[in-house]
Amino acid sequence: MNMLIRKISLAVVAAGVLALPSCGKKPASPDIKIGLIAELTGDIPAVGTSCRNAAKMAVDEINNAGGILIDGKKHGLGLVVEDSSAKADQAAAAAQKLINQDEVLAIIGPNASLGAIPAAQIAESAKVLLITPWSTNPKTTLDNDGNPKKYVVRACFTDSLQGKVLAKFAKEYMHASKAGVLYDVASEAPKGQAELFKKDFEADGGKVVAFETYTTGDKDFSAQLTKIKAAGPDIVLLPSYYSDVPLQLQQAHRLGLTVPFLGSDTWSSPEIIKLAGADAEGAYFCNHYSPSAKNEITGRFVVSYKKLYGQEPDDVAALTYDSFNVLRKAIAAGGKLDRQSVRDALSKIGVHEGVTGKISYPSGSGDPVKGAVMMQVKDGKFLWITNVDPM
């Protein structure tokens, strides 16, 4: 099955790459292989689809603009897409295959931290640059001793930052002093976010009155939600993926838990509105960018993405697009088509003005310095509320 999807997606990508010559310029031939690991099946297929869409779009744009100039010769990018099924083992297997069999120059993805952490380990030991667009868990770019990995970077902010942002927003904007948390103990990003939120919220004088867990695949949260309701929180944090959040919101409402809900960047897929309907109204969440942001780069990206795929790009799409452009600059700056030069050139690209804001890797760390935005679900749409600077 996965093989089938993989083959179909490869065919689609190949067709997309081949059917390019629409602009005046002659597109560069795709001879630089870049691996993409996306969650095309499994619990969060919308994340993988956004990632693949944005990747295709970025690659087409780069190739149509003449590719990357190295030693007077133009090189285009060619995508090799692998499905991780949003599972840790398959993400690791996909990374192995891309590095050893396909011999890609660099890897983009996986997005979910659960898969990004093992894939990052493999890329690190094989000395291949891996850029994860969306994995916010601090462990992705750190090795087992807590030192930064050398070959793994991300395009997004980390959960340490997100924890601070959420705690600050809950305190200052929602005026909450007691918070309840329900999170998936078996999934890296939600678990990290819940723990870091708790740390920051309590450091600031707040109290987490209920800290409840479940495991991936659970659909019944009634016991935990009843417990949270009994603890009487002012707000409830649900740092879960879009497949779980709708059920949690709906069950909370059925149990008469009516306090405001707060979510993390795991909410950002528009699927959440489709799946949760009216239950999501009024909830706040933290995000990487806002499609309605008034700046030229974001505006241009949103317009072209909408034209191609008929929907507004979510943050995974925006971050994937930024990842590819960071990679393009690194390849060009390195001036050589080997894995080490690409990695070495990354710290020389300076500040990249991306769709999701300014990205740079100044000190050799894989975590860029970025801000976050807070959004609200209002009338079935994501509404920008405020920018939060965690410092």
Binding site: T41, T213, S222, T226, G277
Partner: protein
Amino acid sequence: MVYFAQQALNALQLGSIYALIALGYTMVYGVLVMINFAHGDIFMMGAFTCLVAALFLKLPFAGALVFTMGITALMGMAVERIAYRPLRNAPRMSAVITALGVGLFLENATLAISPYPQRVPALLKNTTWNFGGLAVSSVQMVIVGLSIALMIALDLLVRRSLWGLAMRAISWDRDIVPLMGVPVARVVSTTFAIGGGLGGAAGVMYAMAYPVIDPSMGILVGWKAFISAVVGGIGNIRGAMLGGFILGGTEIFVAAFLPSTYRDFVGFTLLLCLLIVRPHGILGTPSLEKV
């Protein structure tokens, strides 16, 4: 007290869904001594059929329930006819493997159509009543009430009707019963139809209670229902119901009074201890033959 009552209601809702699915496992085992591992996926197909009934056929709740039960009953029969009947006299392990294969086929066929989780529109208008802090929802009441009604109907069918008598006779001795003029193939087919229908009904209830459904939802819920059937005594219909409520209750109450991280650990340890004391399940009868 209100807290306890609320958790008891939660347990009742979860337990009745486990119990309905567990019935499908136990009926097939009772008649054929075979574990129908595809049953969890028939349940999943039930939830998706309900989605189709609601979205495209615009059926009301009762219509969707009957439609879904009909379709999944046919699926149960088809699975038996295509995948199990040709292996009736093969080693039992072959049938178990075919069952797993059928389950994988159903999952991946649904996955091929759409891997996205889907929202099932509310077929029942939900009202939540508040009794001094105790939240009771009408959907919850319908689910529990309908499940119990279906279980009672099945219990009566198996214990009182001629078909029920035939089913029990086949489970007693499959070689002798045909000599008495019992059409074994048809009775087995009916068993699968009833099991599939109940699985479909569970799918509809599930889609009402947890309205986000996906193609892999049958795996975990299916396993839990299977465990319920084993705990209650596989092959025993009242045991399956009891097992469903016991598993639902353990899951809810462990999470309610202990840190929720311990839920599955404590819950399943309790069930294991129960099986050590009663290896054939609570209402099961010892037999020498097991898969």
